[in-house]
Structures are given as structure tokens and as C-alpha cells.
Symmetry: C2
């Protein structure tokens, strides 16, 4: 193989596929990147067997001799990063010894046989869903934080991706909270799959904030995201997702309207002392026009007041502040509704003027409050 390409284009491509190199594999070849030159296109591929990323470089490259080789991902990235911003030549012989030359620099790197590199699943790119990149990026950001971090129920480490009657819903939940983000999309066929949180996290980084479309294809076991020249292929999680509709209450007894930023700042401050005391417990005392947020630990106590508009009766309720902070941090709207029923029922956080977000947070039951 012999290819010639520009430094910056190559470096960007390496950064993209490196997201699939976990460094935790027991198969040493998976620490490598597969570099292939064919039909005057250079492609880079990396996989951890759960997720694979392939990116094609078609401009600013020249394939002098077709072929492929596997090079250690970290070493390859470090070498290219340190080279000057001029043309780079990569040439490997039939023992996979690879020579990288650039100006007066010449690296001779031990490569591996591409035949030993696992192939990515072949996916027929037919049944495609198309979503603007910025929309999907936002939907990922606004749900992924609520996935379960421990593996006791593997299905909860993923995000439900459900298309039903032209509405895409993405849902993540753990034992204490749920994040639901909906959007009207131009997708005709219904589907319901669970995508690993790790995959969505990396896809979110690859997506940019343009409204260029990302194309999504499903097979029974896999999902393929196609973003410009990059393809991300991932296993889907097996099993049934929790019936989230049953969890979200339809009614509430009282509703609070508050400024998102003021509420977030107050809860963050209130949790400073709770954090020191190794708990995240905050108490909300909801009265007319005013929400008083307090917390205390052996280090002291905090009293915060947030102006609100209350519909309904007053209420005292306690929460783990982390779950409130996580939800309020990803809300871009200026004002939120908080819907409550009792001190032992979940609180719903919604944005005003849109039904697209719903966050559910379970309260902490206090023995005496």
C-alpha cells in the first residue's frame, strides 16, 4: 500500500475513528486502526467489536498503490499530530512494515496484517431514516445523562429510540429519574430499539451543529449512522425496554413556574453543603410566590429562595440534588414547569410552550420532615 494525504485531513479522520478504540480489549489488533487505500479512496476503520467507525477520505488523498495495513492507533495518532502541516506519505510492504514520511521526518513502524482485523458487519443501506444532525445531537445530549451507569440491568445503559406515528422519542432512565425527548420527524415506518449509551455518546461527538442530515439504518441487531463520510455501526442492546409511558403520570396537583437558570443556581448552591456531608439531599418548601430550598450537613446549612408562580397547594418535598441539576443543565429554555402531586410522588420537569421534553425525578422520602 502507498498513499499520500494531507496532514490535517488525516489527523481529523484518525480522531474520528479513534473513538472506537477503547484500549480495554484483550485482542491486541483492536488497539490498531485499519488503513486501506482502494479506488483512490483512503478509509480508516476502528472497532471494539461492539461499535465500529469507518471514515473515508476522498479529497486531498492519492492512492499510489492499493492495499491495507493495521497500525497502533495511539502511536499513529501521536506521530501524525507531531508532523508538520504538509503532505504525508504512508507506505507499507508485504511484511506490514510501514514507512511514514513527511518532509525530513521518516518513521518506520511495525504494522499488522489487515486479514487479522475483524470486519465490520455488512449493512444494506436501504431502510434509511434521515434526521438533521443538530436535532439528533441535542436529543442525545438531553437524554443520555439519565442512562444507568451500572450494568446490573444492561438494557438501562442504553437509550430507547422509538419512532411511532411520525414522532421520534428518545428515552433514558435509571432507578431514580427518566429523561424523555420527543420530536416530530419525517419518518414513516415505526421502530423501537435500544442503542447503547456508549455508542450514542461517541455519535454525539461526531455530529456537528448543522442541519445536514444523518442517515440511520437498522438491522435486527445493528444500527448504522452515516454522517457525511463517516459510518458508525453498533450492536443494539437486547431485551425489552421498560414501559416508560406507565411511569409518567398524566396529572398533577400543583404546578410551579420558575426561571430555569435561577432554579439551577439555587439548587447548585444548596447542594454545596449537602455534598460535603456526602449526601445530596435538598429540601424544597413550595409556598405561594416563593420556593425555599434548604440543605444541611455537619458543615453548616444553606437557605435559598427562588421566586415562583404556584398553581395549587403548598408542598414540602425532598430530592437528591444531583438529579435536578442534571436535568436543569440541559434545558435551554428560559422557564420551566415543575409538576408535583405529593411529597412521595415523582416530580415532572417540563419546558414551557413545548411538550418535547419530560424529565421525571423521584423524591427522597424523609422519615420526619
Amino acid at each position: 500500500m502507498k498513499i499520500v494525504c494531507s496532514k490535517n485531513f488525516l489527523l481529523n479522520s484518525i480522531s474520528t475513528v479513534q473513538k472506537a478504540v477503547t484500549g480495554k480489549t484483550t485482542l491486541p489488533i483492536l488497539d490498531g486502526i485499519l488503513i486501506s487505500g482502494k479506488d483512490n479512496q483512503v478509509s480508516l476503520t476502528a472497532t471494539d467489536l461492539d461499535m465500529g467507525i469507518e471514515t473515508k477520505m476522498s479529497s486531498d488523498v492519492e492512492v499510489v498503490e492499493e492495499g491495507s495495513v493495521v497500525i497502533n492507533s495511539r502511536l499513529f495518532g501521536e506521530i501524525i499530530r507531531k508532523l508538520p502541516d504538509i503532505t504525508i506519505t504512508i507506505e507499507s510492504d508485504n511484511t506490514y512494515n510501514t514507512i511514514i514520511t513527511c518532509g525530513k521526518s521518516k518513521f518506520n513502524v511495525v504494522g499488522q496484517d489487515p486479514k487479522d482485523y475483524p470486519e465490520l458487519p455488512v449493512i444494506n443501506e436501504n431502510a434509511m431514516y434521515k434526521i438533521p444532525q443538530d436535532l439528533l445531537k441535542n436529543m442525545i445530549r438531553q437524554t443520555i445523562f439519565a442512562t444507568a451507569q451500572d450494568e446490573t440491568r444492561p438494557i438501562l445503559t442504553g437509550v430507547l429510540f422509538e419512532v411511532k406515528d411520525g414522532v421520534l422519542s428518545m428515552v433514558a432512565l435509571d432507578a431514580y429519574r427518566l429523561a424523555l425527548r420527543k420530536s416530530n420527524v419525517d419518518l414513516s415506518s415505526n421502530i423501537s430499539v435500544v442503542i447503547p449509551g456508549k455508542t450514542l455518546n461517541e455519535v454525539g461527538k461526531i455530529l456537528d451543529s448543522s442541519n445536514e442530515e444523518v442517515e440511520i439504518t437498522f438491522t435486527p441487531n445493528h444500527i448504522l449512522f452515516k454522517v457525511e463520510n463517516t459510518r458508525v455501526i453498533s450492536r443494539l442492546l437486547e431485551g425489552e425496554f421498560i414501559n416508560y409511558r406507565q411511569i409518567i403520570p398524566d396529572e398533577y396537583k400543583l404546578r410551579v413556574k420558575a426561571n430555569s437558570k435561577m432554579l439551577l443556581d439555587s439548587i447548585e448552591r444548596a447542594s454545596l453543603l449537602a455534598k460535603e456531608g456526602k449526601t445530596n439531599l435538598i429540601k424544597m418548601n413550595i409556598t405561594n410566590n416563593n420556593m425555599i430550598i434548604t440543605s444541611n450537613s455537619q458543615f453548616g446549612n444553606v437557605h435559598e429562595e427562588v421566586p415562583i408562580v404556584l398553581e395549587g397547594n403548598e408542598l414540602q418535598i425532598a430530592f437528591n440534588s444531583k438529579y435536578f441539576i442534571d436535568a436543569l443543565k440541559i434545558i435551554d429554555e428560559e422557564e420551566v414547569y415543575l409538576e408535583f402531586s405529593s411529597s412521595v410522588s415523582p416530580c415532572l420537569v417540563k419546558t414551557i410552550g413545548s411538550e418535547d421534553y419530560v424529565y421525571l425525578i423521584l423524591p427522597v422520602r424523609l422519615i420526619a420532615s
Copy 2:
């Protein structure tokens, strides 16, 4: 005590004194910051007993009631950071319960008795040296990296601060290299002390890049840096520093002139593979007009060429690349001289047109090269 001050001014002052809170103390009160209001000035003090920092706030503050209290440094910093950018009131009672109020936020924090807080050494600010801040900041940056990191010879963890006949020399060295930075200064009395590297590291962060002066006072055991409203007081290291003049050779057999940046880039690339092989060994083959830098490990090998101007004979010599990289990184000048005598003698790195910097690096002896 009751004081009123602006958020940003207070936060900056906390950041300054927090540099003396190590969090590694066995004396719990040293995790605190001493806050004192007196004579309409508020001062913050922190110390780890080796180094103490005190900063005074005289504008944007009001002392309503004189007094003092000790508050946990991390908690105090986090609270102030999270408060809105308006006026903050801090009030402590005679049990050192401290109330911090700001807008609708009210923190009640457990404080400690200021009588238990160790006093900083009293230093008579008479025999003062004055140095522009930017000069001292640079002199610290250009020497401190060469201090010894292990404590087997404690004196080498410090930087020699020597004034002799109007020349200030700062010197740091470990077993493998030496950094010397000189400057003509308007200081009349001679002195030779060793300042802990840790102290200089923090002082370097407090200094800004202006030519406002920092005032330095010595006692037999302590040094005081006064920078605007901040005083840093540190113990000096005890013992004799190594006679560094004996180590630096006066003569050389060959001299290389090279572009600093090109040399640094080439050595960094050459060390990429050496690093992977857990060694930092690079070889330099110095020929007329060209320095060839190579290194190899089980992962491959690198060949770099740097254009040079050579005076003298050709030479092959090997180094730990880290020491070269450390030295070249802090050189601001475009070109450097490298002076050599043999493959087993030290290399001197000097800047062209100034005698102010000298870096000495010991070569690695190779059994066969």
C-alpha cells in the same frame, strides 16, 4: 466579625491564598482560610507551615465589625464561586458560626477559632530587593523544571537564588541536567539562598507579566515576596547548594547552531517511539550542515534531519530526549547553540546573542553506538 465585599474581588483573593492550602496536612485547621477584618481592610491568610500567603483587600470592602474567623478553604471557595456577582456579607458570631449572605442566598457555615490558626513568621520588610514581575516570572519558568523531583537530596528540590556583583543567578539541577538563568539587576548586596521549588511554583502563578516590581526580603531562614497586596512567606531550604560553576565547562570542541523550534519538533517526534519502548533514548549524528536524530524501539524507528551550522568535527552522541525537550520548550529565542566536547561530556544549550541562559545536559553512554 462582619464584612461586606464584592464577589469577584473576594473570589480572586481566595484563589490566591488557596495556593498555600495543600490538603495534605494532619492539622485540620490548615484546611481553612483565616479571614480578618481590621482597620477597614479585609485580609485572607492560608499556610501549610512551609509557605504562607496573605492577601489584603482594601477597595470594594467594608469592615462593619472587626474580628476574624477560620473557614474551610475548599467550601468557602466553592460557595463564593457559585454566588451571583453582587455584594456578599460575611458575619461570624462568638462561636465562629459564620453566615454568608448574598441576594436571596444564605449560608450558615461552621467556622473555627482564629486563635488556633498558626501565625505567619513576622518579617521586617527592610532589606528589600526589587525585581520586575515579568522578569522573575520568566526566571522561575526557565529554571524550575530542572529541580529534583525526589527528596533524596532535599537541597536539589529548590532553586538557588544568588546575587553577586549586580548579577542575579537562579540555578536548578538534578542528577542529569542543570538550568542556569542570569540577569543583571539593580541589587547591591550579595546573597545566596535556596528557595523551595514548591514556593517558586506558586509565586510564579501569582506574578503577572507586567513590569511592576515584586519586593523580596530575606531573613536567615525565610523569604518574603510582596506582590501588590499579596505577601508570600516561605521557609528557605537548609544546607549548601552544589558548586554549580564547577560543573559547567568553559570550553567546547564543536558548536552547532540550529533553529530552536525545528530542533524541538524533531526531538519530540524522534522520542515518540522511544517513549513507547519505555526509554527516552535518542541518538544524534552531527555532521556538516545536518543533524540526524534517530531512535528505535520494538515498535519501529524514526529518522529525523535538522539543518544546522557546525563548527568543529562531527560527533555521535545519545541523550534522554526528555531533558532536551524540557530545555528547548522554555527557550523563547529563535536560534540556539549546542556546545559539545565528546560523546561522554555534557552538552550545553545556549541562546544566541545572550549569555543569560545556560542549560547543561548529560549524555547517555552507549555500550556500542
